[in-house]
C-alpha cells in the first residue's frame, strides 16, 4: 500500500478496510484470477469506493493484476483510480465511488444469481458506517430483509465516521429490525472475522450483516 501515494485524504478510509479485505480474499471468497469470469464465483462489491488502496493491494497480492501496477496509482496511464472501475481493473466487480450504490446493486445481483439458478455463489458488499447515511441503503436494507435474500452478506466497516451514528444498538440494530441476522466483531481480528463470515453461510438464513469495528479516524 505504501507505493500508492497521492490519495492521502483517503488514507484512514483505505486502512480501515485492509484486514476485512484480506480475510475475505484469503479465507472466504470463492474467486481467484482463474475464476474471475466464472458465473458461479462469489461476488465482492466494494461499495465504499473511497480509499481503494487496500483493495488494490489485496487484489494484486492475490494475482488479479501485477503488483507493478500499484506504483502508478491515479496516473493517466494507470487503470487504478482513486475510485475503482470494473471496466478497467481485473477482479473488480463494480465501479464505485459515489456512496450508497453497492448495496442496492448487490441486491439486484443476488436476485439475478438466484434467477439464473446459481444458488451457490454469494454476494458480499462492503460498506462504511458513514456510507449508511445515504438513503438508498435504507431502501435496500428494508427490502432485502423483507424478501429474505439468502445469498447476500453486508460487511459494514465501522470506524465511527458517521456524524450522527446509529444510536443505541448501533448499525446492527438497524439491520436486525429489518430481518437481517447481525453480529459485530473486532475488525482487525482475522480469526474473529473469518468465523463471523462462516456463521453467515448458514443456508436457511436471510441476508447477513457483519459489523467490523475498527479504530476511529484520528
Amino acid at each position: 500500500m505504501t507505493v500508492m501515494t497521492g490519495d492521502e485524504k483517503h488514507g484512514p478510509s483505505a486502512t480501515s478496510t485492509l484486514d476485512v479485505l484480506w480475510v475475505l480474499y484469503d479465507q472466504v471468497l470463492r474467486v481467484s484470477p482463474d475464476t474471475a469470469g466464472d458465473p458461479g464465483r462469489d461476488r465482492f462489491l466494494l461499495s465504499k469506493g473511497h480509499g481503494p488502496a487496500a483493495y488494490y493491494a489485496v487484489l494484486a497480492a492475490k494475482g488479479f493484476f501485477p503488483e507493478s501496477w500499484l506504483a502508478s496509482f491515479g496516473s493517466a496511464s494507470s487503470p487504478l483510480g482513486y475510485h475503482p472501475d470494473r471496466s478497467l481493473v481485473p477482479g473488480v466487480e463494480i465501479a464505485s465511488g459515489s456512496l450508497g450504490h453497492g448495496l442496492p446493486l448487490g441486491v439486484g445481483l443476488a436476485h439475478g444469481l438466484l434467477a439464473r439458478g446459481l444458488s451457490g455463489p454469494r454476494v458480499y458488499v462492503l460498506v462504511g458506517d458513514a456510507e449508511l447515511d445515504e438513503g438508498s441503503n435504507n431502501e435496500a436494507i428494508v427490502y432485502a430483509g423483507a424478501v429474505g435474500l439468502p445469498n447476500l452478506t453486508v460487511v459494514a466497516v465501522d470506524n465511527q465516521s458517521s456524524s450522527y451514528g446509529w444510536g443505541p444498538g448501533g448499525i446492527e440494530a438497524h439491520f436486525a429490525v429489518s430481518g437481517w441476522s447481525a453480529m459485530r466483531v473486532p475488525g482487525r481480528d482475522h480469526a474473529a472475522l473469518a468465523s463471523a463470515f462462516r456463521v453467515t453461510s448458514a443456508p436457511d438464513a436471510g441476508p447477513q450483516l457483519v459489523v467490523a469495528t475498527v479504530e476511529g479516524k484520528a
Binding site: 458465473p39 461476488r43 470494473r86 471496466s87 466487480e93 463494480i94 465501479a95 459515489s98 450504490h101 442496492p104 446493486l105 448487490g106 441486491v107 439486484g108 445481483l109 443476488a110 436476485h111 439475478g112 444469481l113 438466484l114 434467477a115 439464473r116 446459481l118 438513503g135 438508498s136 431502501e139 435496500a140 428494508v142 427490502y143
Partner: protein
Amino acid sequence: MCADMRTVFAAETSALLEEDPLAAVVLAEISADLFAKAAARHPERVLNVGIREQLMVSVGGGLALAGMRPIVHTYAPFLVERAFEQVKLDLAHQDVHAVLVSIGASYDAARSGRTHQAPEDVALMDSVPGFSVVVPGHPGEVPALLREAVGTLDAGSTYMRLSTEANAEARPVWPGLQVVRSGRRAVVVAVGPMLSPVLDAVADLDVTVAYATTVRPFDAEGLRTLASSGAVVLVEPYLAGTSAFAVASALASRPHRLLSLGVGREEVRRYGTPADHAAWHGLDAAGIRRSVTRFLGLS
C-alpha cells in the same frame, strides 16, 4: 377501442418473460397489478421492490451484472428524475444494459400537476451515454419496439417513453425517419404521438412530414436527405429543443433554419386535461399550424 400503451407493454413483457429465461421485470408498485399473473408464474424474475425507485434502478443494474435482461418500469418522473444517478452509475457507468420503460409522458397526468410530470425526461436520458430513446406514437407500435429494445440489450440500453396520447393509427416502425407525405418548403419531423396533430396542422401546406419513433440515435443521414429546402421543424412531445443539437449536428455543413416545438420550459401551474396542456404549449394542431406558417412566412 384498443388497449393503451401501458397495457400493451405489460402484455408483451409478460409474453417475453415466457419466451426468454433471462428477461426480468423490476417495478416500484406502479403497474404491479398488470404484472400480477407474470409475477405468480415467475416470482424470481418479476420483482416489485415497493415504493423505492433508487433501489428499482439499482436492482436492474445488479440483475444485468448477473447476466439477466432487465426491464425497469415506473412513472417517468420517478424513473428518470428521482433515480437519475442510479441510471448514470448503476447502468451506464457499470457498462451494463437495461430497458427503461416510462409511463406518464409530459402532461399525461395533467390533473395530477407538476409532481407527476417530467417533460425533461428525454433531455436527461440523452445525456447518458449508450442509451437509445424510443417514443412510440401508437399502442400498436409498442410490441415491435419493445422486442427490438430487449433483443438488442447486448449492444446497449433503451429508454422507452409510453404515453396516453396516441396517433390515429399505428405505423410500421423502423429506426430511421419515415416519410409520411412529401412537400418542398420544409421538412416537419413529428416524434411519436405528435404525428396526428402535425398532419392536421399542415394538411394544406407544401411540406414533407417525417415520422420518428427512435430519436436516439437520431437519423442524421435521413434528415440530410429530406432537408433539401434547408427549413426544418422539429415537433417533439417533450421539452422543446431536446433534439435541436442533433438537427444542428446533422446539418452543420449546410445553411439551414430550425424551428423547435415541444413542451415549454416554464412550469404551467394548471390542471385540466392533456388536450388543455397541448393547447397551452402550442402542440395542438392549431398551435403547430400557427408556428409553422409563421416560420415559413405564410402568416
